[in-house]
């Protein structure tokens, strides 16, 4: 996972949940950060806007921490890039 992508994910979470960026790390669990299901839905919305991706419901059902969320975003960003280059 690139540092740049991770940093963007951490920033989206911190901004959306309105908590200091330094409290969010790649190893944070949602429970530690007080992120409930509605917070998670808002963060997904913000991530979709930040990375211009669409995150399917099924992909998010088991996500419980920041690392899983960042890995999911990375996969969708890669799939989008592959789709774009295939289209060229």
């Amino acid at each position: 996972m690139s540092d740049e992508l991770t940093q963007r994910v951490l920033k989206v979470i911190a901004t959306s949940k309105r908590i200091p960026l330094e409290t969010v790390t790649i190893d944070s669990e949602f429970q530690q950060l007080g992120i409930d299901s509605m917070d998670a839905v808002e963060i997904l919305f913000a991530l979709e806007n930040e990375f211009d991706i669409s995150i399917p419901d099924d992909e998010v059902r088991t996500v419980r921490n920041v690392r899983q969320m960042a890995e999911g975003v990375e996969k969708l960003v890669a799939a989008k890039a592959a789709g774009a280059s295939a289209g060229q």
Partner: protein, 402 residues
Amino acid sequence: MRRVAITGMGAICALGRNVEEVGASLCQGRPGIGRIESTDCSQLRFQNGAEVRGYSHQPYFDDRRADFIDRFAQFAVIAAREAVRCAGVEWTPELRENAAIITGSCVGGQSTEDIGFHEVYKLGHNRVHPLTIPKTMANAGASHISMEFGITGPSFTISTACSSAAHAIGQAYWMIRSGAAELAVTGGSEAPFSFGILKAWEAMRVVSPETCRPFSKDRRGMILGEGAAMFVLEPLEAARARGAPIHAEIVGFGMSADAAHITQPSAEGAGRAMRAALRDASLAPEQIGYINAHGTATPANDVTEASAIRAVFGAQANGLPVSSTKSMHGHALGAAAALECLATVLALRDGVLPPTANFTEADPECDLDVIPNCARPTQVEYAISNSFAFGGLNAVLALRKA
């Protein structure tokens, strides 16, 4: 305090255009869920809903009258007409003055508003249709019912998301019981199949991409529905005196607020509403023979509701039939509790408990007798109907076989 009878019922939803059709679908466990036809869903993550298929206003309203009435309010009037006809109400000037109308709706005419906002925001037009406001207002259903029958008594609309119709029916019940009204037309109506509204539901990530499977281990969320159910309530003695049909009695109503979270349900709040309804009805939990569940089929609701039922009913919950008819008529938001009250009345009246359709696999976290897939012939004396809204506002109705 007076006893309160349900003397008239009317309905229109994905399961049928009248009470008889809806009742037949419920007994057969036949869902009205399918691909959404009234709105283009190609840009949505879900494609299925419980619509009134092929609906046109034409058998019900002339074109000019229909111009003034959003689909949600049309449904309200259609169901109210059937309910009033079924009750055989004989209107007098005194009765019209002493009759109340209390309706529930969550989104009201937002589909009309959606069209107007599309005109100004997307198409760049400088004006919206002048009927946008009177068609959008959530009380339009109550207003059009009042004009339809010339009812001039206390009339209003309650909007408590998915509990709206239960709060409405409960208030109407209390008004008849206390003598504040001699007759009430009450229920709920909804028509949420508009692109902007569907997009908002998509963003919540609570709508199933396939069907609605309440209490089933593989449930994937709710299915939106539309329609209306309306009832005529009267004092039991007056109804008997005039020889009116008595479909069931309403015997209790309870409400509570979770005061916890704007979307996550609380078992404690749900339990308090059930207990309040039992207390209002002077019933012990052991007397309840059937629960029509809120049962949305979201992961959160069904576990929470099952745990609340266990907390209220204790060991009795093991043998207590509980079903969610949302598996068939979908989640019709502000109309949901009215459709579910209807399903409960029919279960009591006809001695057939409606099933939880689309059920595949038991979830240990929803360890209840959910009447999977097949209706069950059972005579029941008392039943409750649960409604738990987003925002944590809960309402429970208690009913008795006539």
